[in-house]
Symmetry: C2
Subunit: 255 residues, 2 copies
């Protein structure tokens, strides 16, 4: 019976606390590709996610979605609003976006992306921006290619969590190299979010079974015939993988 209590704790406990913000859902959903605030709310509700990730166009200080439309759909009492620099292709652009989100909307938790050619994380540029934003007191969740040294560098900067790429963003290819992800997870004290390439529920379950603290999905939902069904599937997949990891399972092979 103690084990069933473990289930409840595992599913309900916050995986990250920043000041008075408690992050409980281990499923984060990127919503830059939606145009309709009501659909965003439906997708988030089906996914069970309690985070709303917003951004703005870094080059004209305009939100890609009208944030005023979201204030009614996604109140800050129910959703933790965090920012993202996912459109940034340079360190300068990422800095500009992060500061604009802070100055215009008071958002101080940033999903930090600096992506280079091929839409892949630029680890060096990301560390550089993280250092600057940390010095300004911002909470950072940086996105990098799996690399233990870079993970440790970001940890020493006091980042809140790490986001590690499983496969190219929007590829739906899953986790081709699970051992590389596991190595980073085992060599950092920070919570690790697995992101990029998670195309379906099985990919998400595997990520959690490797010891991830959570996952971020995005394009998979946009492309599904029924996004709300897949959002719900992803929610179950996170719980399945988390509980399996904590059960001490002994599969023959995790590939």
């Amino acid at each position: 019976m103690t084990q069933i209590v473990d289930v409840r704790e595992a599913v309900d406990e916050p995986w990250l606390t920043l000041g008075d913000l408690h992050f409980r859902s281990r499923l984060l959903v990127g919503i830059e590709q939606y145009e309709d605030p009501t659909l965003v709310r439906q997708v988030l509700e089906a996914s069970g996610s309690d985070v709303f990730i917003t951004t703005m166009d870094p080059d004209n200080s305009r939100s890609s979605l009208l944030l005023t439309d979201f204030a009614d759909e996604l109140p800050e009492t129910d959703y933790r609003w965090i920012g993202t620099t996912s459109f940034a292709r340079t360190a300068q652009s990422a800095l500009k976006t992060a500061r604009a989100l802070r100055d215009l909307y008071g958002i101080n938790v940033m999903k930090l992306d600096v992506r280079s050619a091929g839409n892949r994380p630029d680890n060096a540029a990301t560390i550089e921006v993280a250092e600057t934003l940390r010095a300004e007191g911002m909470e950072i969740l940086p996105f990098i290619l799996p690399d233990v040294d870079d993970a440790r560098a970001l940890e020493s900067l006091g980042c809140a969590a790490l986001r590690i790429m499983a496969a190219p963003v929007a590829s739906g290819r899953g986790i081709p190299e699970p051992d590389r992800l596991r190595e980073v997870i085992e060599h950092t004290g920070l919570p690790v979010i697995v992101e990029g390439g998670l195309g379906t529920a099985g990919h998400v379950t595997l990520a959690m079974e490797l010891g991830a603290a959570g996952v971020l999905v995005n394009t998979a939902l946009v492309r599904a015939d029924k996004p709300l069904l897949l959002a719900r599937a992803m929610r179950y997949a996170v719980q399945a993988g988390l509980l399996a990891y904590r059960s001490g399972f002994m599969a023959g092979d995790l590939s």
Copy 2:
């Protein structure tokens, strides 16, 4: 919103109906390796399974577990009692077990296994026994290696469902050849249960994403440090994979 109704239907609808027996849980749990009826009940409750799979030693007409002990723990109002011939190594032994379970306990739904050297299904012997038992009016869920012709032969005998091996029983190796499983699933009108080698939740999610009607797990739970946690994980994994399959996801690669 229609999609959320789909979620409820997918999770609650029976995947198999035999007379007045409705099978709702898509997770079946083998329990031959347990010695304590209370633990069996706890594992089944954590898994959400509504099926109790019982057997007896084919060589001395004695149950491997005292069935009288289970009548209190697992009443037939809550659990569908079905039999299994999983200890049988020959067609003759399987027949003897199936008939004994029917004659002594009134069980007429049989998880039919005839395993040969290496504990692998013997497709030819299984078909032979299925034909005899079908002629006697028994409902059969046979276990075979993935083979479209053999699947069709069993379908033409009027079997209730097929159980297809993913990897060797108790190996925990998952689904090394997903395309072979998918081929059988797509070429039969029967519900397909994936079984053998499902060592953790990710394997189960993948099986359901391939279009399986359900899965059977066994040794994975016995070997986990916390069997009840893994049983619950497997339950979420089934729901995750089922909903993902129905969402029409478009992952780049399901391996």
